[in-house]
Subunit: 199 residues, 2 copies
């Protein structure tokens, strides 16, 4: 009898490294040490297994990152720690590079459009989490009321996706954190109209 969570952990790691289209059911059954019928009786199909592996992995990361973001820290510091934590996740030793979700199933065969919608929705949700934290910052006077929090969230979402891509290409942790430091200078509180640009 296969332990569900153990199987999901193994599947998540394979999908993380090779992507949905790059991982075969033979890869999965071999890595789990099970036979094909067990995979299908336990998880339904390759596509359902992928969704479950995504949920499983996200649930593990989410508690810590959500705690960072929704803590009582000032929003700027919370955002900084949140991004640093993602940079750490992108460059863990003995783990696949990058993020399992951020850069998953972007280009895909038509037959996998449904899976692509799933990962796109997860990315959208994570940006909405950022936006809601920024909205809270407005109510708490940490951000100007007129701040475009939606675009600001998508900006940091783009940084997160770019970090994942560069981690896949081999970027080290220190580089990603330097990227973050530059991205944080775009924070509304950190920005000031340059002198002599008042027209």
């Amino acid at each position: 009898m296969l332990d569900r969570d153990v199987g999901l952990d193994i599947a998540a790691r394979l999908f993380w490294e090779r992507g949905y289209e790059g991982t075969s059911t033979a890869d999965l059954t071999k890595a789990m040490g099970i036979n094909p019928p067990t995979l299908y009786s336990t998880f339904g199909s390759k596509e359902e297994l992928y969704r479950q592996a995504l949920d499983f992995s996200i649930a593990r990361e989410n508690s810590r990152r959500s705690e960072i973001l929704h803590s009582n820290l000032p929003v700027y510091e919370a955002l900084s720690l949140y991004l640093y934590d993602i940079a750490d996740g992108d460059t863990q030793p003995d783990k696949p590079r990058g993020c399992m979700v951020s850069t998953a199933v972007l280009q895909h065969a038509e037959e996998n459009a449904s899976v692509a919608r799933t990962t796109a929705a997860l990315r959208e949700a994570s940006m909405q989490v950022l936006k809601s934290r920024f909205d809270r910052a407005i109510t708490e006077g940490e951000l100007p009321a007129e701040t475009d929090t939606d675009t600001l969230a998508r900006f940091y979402g783009a940084i997160i996706q770019g970090m994942s891509a560069q981690a896949c290409d081999g970027a080290c942790n220190a580089l990603l954190k330097r990227l973050i430091d530059i991205a944080l200078t775009a924070w509304p509180g950190m920005r000031q109209t340059p002198a002599g640009n008042s027209d």
Copy 2:
């Protein structure tokens, strides 16, 4: 007899939309209106065709973008126009979403590691182009001499990759340009140390 450039144009579009692993040789031959042996006699293999399609597409975009970046415009304006042009490329009507290179072959089966190295090298090269423009800006007094141009180039590279990912997920042109506008506030010339932060 198949026109090489016509075939590469069709192949590039398919690879752009579906990715390397999501595009089959049957897709390619059908779209080109040729038989399999013609594909192999003309392009060698699926992998070689992909490389040629990448080169073909990049050559088309490169002249315009390179002209923008290496013009006599101030570096900040050149960078702005460069990024806007990429945002336009990410959201062309009747074309696949995102960039063919920026978010290609990030997760992949082991057997496609060689193709992944190719796209990674193309991404690295495009960031080096940015860096060299920033280095020129230092010599021309547009940037402080101590500017970390490598990280700055990778920061805007991350923005480019993030825009491609979000375009794949359906982001519109206007959103991408708002992202760019935020990213441009991270430009060294646009940043100032906030008052009361001098420790």
